[in-house]
């Protein structure tokens, strides 16, 4: 599975949205992406990509698109 697919799958599984809902998705915009969902999403992404996110990036991870920029900083090809 390509890295973009893994990235999308993490959102679909943890946040509980469809792939079609991902573009423009913002933190706390949907019930599934609350603080607990955010923590679960971050740890899932760390596990899937074998990275350790910095606190600053976890707090900065405010949307689906912003998250892609942050993932690229850690060498994830999206």
């Amino acid at each position: 599975m390509e890295q973009l697919e893994k990235y999308k799958l993490a959102f679909v599984e943890i946040i509980g949205v469809t792939e079609e809902q991902l573009p423009g998705l913002v933190y706390q915009d949907t019930a599934g992406w609350d603080s607990v969902g955010h923590m679960q999403l971050m740890t899932q992404l760390e596990d899937v990509f074998g990275i350790a996110l910095e606190m600053e990036d976890i707090l900065d991870f405010s949307s689906y698109e912003k998250g892609m920029d942050i993932m690229r900083k850690y060498g994830v090809t999206l």
Binding site: G16, A31, G32, D34, S35, V36, G37, H38, M39, Q40, M42, T43, M55, I58, L59
Partner: protein, 190 residues
Amino acid sequence: MNAIATGLYTFKHFTDLTESESDEVLRGRNDPQVRRWMTSDQPIDADDHHRFMSGLKSNDKSLYVRIERAECFVGVYSLNDLADDSALGGFWVTAYARDRLLPLNVVFHGMDYMFRVQGIGRIYGHQKKSNQSAIRLNALLGLYPSKTLIAHGGDTQQIEITRQQWTQMTAQDAKLLKLMDRMEKLNGTT
């Protein structure tokens, strides 16, 4: 009773708070970021707050604790309707702790204090079937539906967990502990 500390977390009963700690509780509870998650989103009047705090001293059916993490106020955990070793659990988490993604950790430690230190036998609560956030948080903490409440139009479930379930399952859930540990490390100890 003075504050009881378990690691980074400290618990102080409302009946033992200083005036400034009590005022900080009121300010925290009235923060718009906190009120939006409460059943009633109206701010609490200072006089009502003081009456409530005074009333707790003669109320053996309720127990409220102020929770601090690394000396910062992070939330409140409460037990109400205490009877037969069971109680209705409740909590709220400060905006400070929410900003640091600590709500799960705060609620976990509040429940852990009630089970392990206070020795409560069973905590129950209510959740709406449509409230995904509450359902996920409760499930992580081992609070599962025990019955549907007809009085609430069938939309509300009673959830509960016993001390045995807490100590043998939730408090040893490797996935949950890893998730919380990640946030503790990220937040550090100061």
